[in-house]
């Protein structure tokens, strides 16, 4: 008797192939992996951090050479100093307020296309970097693996700067320059939201 290959065989085979035959570990993220993951997600899950990092890249791109590389290179180094302050147990005042304000200030710089001398821009970004680094540094002792946590959040911070720079490349076009300035305005609004939250106006 002739038996046809049933039509359900292929989908069934695909379904079976998709089922992992290896054991599922619910907590694989230990040590280095967990440290990398939590460190990488730390700047990405805090919108106030995230927009400020993107704004640094945007502003650098808007200011052009050498700010486009001076700001993203100096930021992690100054941020490390902020991290050291956090680790040392020194209490910096108004951390949340200043992090929120960094979004407003950097967003405004981009939105209004402010072009100060390089040292002024670097100083402004450096001051904010200390407070962002301080916030990250306070988390470092709690990390599963301090080195991988630090690698994770430094890489994430750098990639956020790079994202800002890549968006900022649009300043070479007339319409693109407006888009970049609009991004700055949006970042300023996010910063304002967090500032209002920090002072208790928004729950």
């Amino acid at each position: 008797m002739k038996r046809d290959f049933p039509d359900a065989a292929l989908p069934l085979a695909l379904l079976m192939a998709a089922i992992p035959l290896s054991p599922a570990f619910a907590h694989t993220g230990t040590g280095v992996a967990l440290g990398l993951e939590s460190g990488f997600l730390h700047p990405l899950t805090g919108l106030d951090h995230l927009v400020a990092m993107v704004a640094v890249g945007l502003w650098g791109a808007q200011l052009g050479n050498p700010a486009i590389w001076v700001l993203p290179i100096t930021f992690p180094l100054v941020m490390a100093v902020g991290g050291l302050i956090g680790l040392s147990g020194i209490d910096l005042p108004f951390v949340e307020l200043i992090i929120a304000f960094s979004g407003i200030a950097l967003g405004a710089m981009v939105a209004f296309s402010v072009r100060p001398p390089l040292w002024v821009a670097a100083t402004l970004v450096g001051v904010f970097a200390i407070f962002h680094g301080y916030a990250h540094g306070r988390e470092l002792p709690e990390a599963a693996d301090a080195v991988s946590f630090a690698v994770g959040f430094v890489v994430a911070t750098g990639l956020l700067h790079l994202s800002g720079i890549l968006i900022g490349v649009l300043v070479g076009y007339e319409a693109g320059a407006k888009v970049v300035r609009a991004c700055g305005a949006a970042i300023g609004c996010v910063g304002l939201y967090f500032l209002l939250g920090a002072v208790g106006f928004i729950e």
Binding site: L77, L87, G89
Partner: protein, 204 residues
């Protein structure tokens, strides 16, 4: 769809089932070679400064960078051998983090170093990391295989990273800047974890 085509597709789909591949290398005679090779790769505190050292060497030019490929693996092997007789110094973890910060800062600054200084950093780093990896061996570890694996991976990583960095630097003006930005990331990690270590010493 023809029957044979469905059969073949179903067979391929099943053949691609996501099972874990276990090659059982640890049970083979060369198991400790792979243990030695993998040991430094699982520690970012070692991999990061290796790559930073390679990039730093690349900034010195190909002619100078070649010395690193010879000197670093030899220092790594020497460190491993020393660990068989001498216990790991207590300042080892701090020195390791200082090396992360220093090599990162030197890359961020695109520093031009005298060859002696560059090789000195490579020797100190190789000796320290060789000793740290060597100290991880247990009584049942085949020491020759473990140290051979460690030296081989050190040679492989430093050669590939140096060659890649030299090739990467030959091109657009943004490329050195990208490497310098990477150096600043490494330095930032080194500075912060060094600070943490000094404030709250961690085992290393």
């Amino acid at each position: 769809m023809k029957k044979w085509l469905r059969l073949v597709t179903a067979a391929v789909a099943l053949a691609l089932a996501p099972t874990a591949a276990h090659a059982h290398l640890v049970d083979t005679r060369l198991g400790d070679f792979y243990s030695g090779a993998l040991h430094p790769l699982t520690d970012l505190q070692q991999v990061l400064p290796w790559i930073a050292l390679a990039v730093l060497a690349a900034f010195q030019g190909a002619q100078r960078a070649r010395w690193i490929i010879l000197v670093f693996p030899l220092a790594l092997a020497a460190g491993g051998l020393v660990s068989l007789e001498v216990p790991l110094p207590s300042f080892g973890p701090v020195l390791g983090l200082v090396l992360v910060a220093v090599t990162g800062l030197a890359v961020a600054a695109a520093a031009r170093l005298p060859l002696g200084v560059l090789l000195g950093v490579a020797v100190v780093m190789g000796l320290l990391h060789g000793a740290q990896n060597g100290a991880a061996m247990v009584a049942t570890t085949d020491r020759v295989l473990f140290l051979s694996g460690m030296t081989a991976i050190g040679y492989g990583v430093i050669t590939l990273a140096t060659g890649s960095a030299i090739a990467f630097l030959r091109g657009a003006a943004w490329r050195p800047i990208a490497l310098r930005a990477g150096g600043s990331w490494v330095a930032a990690v080194g500075i912060m974890v060094l600070g943490l270590n000094l404030a709250r010493p961690i085992a290393g």
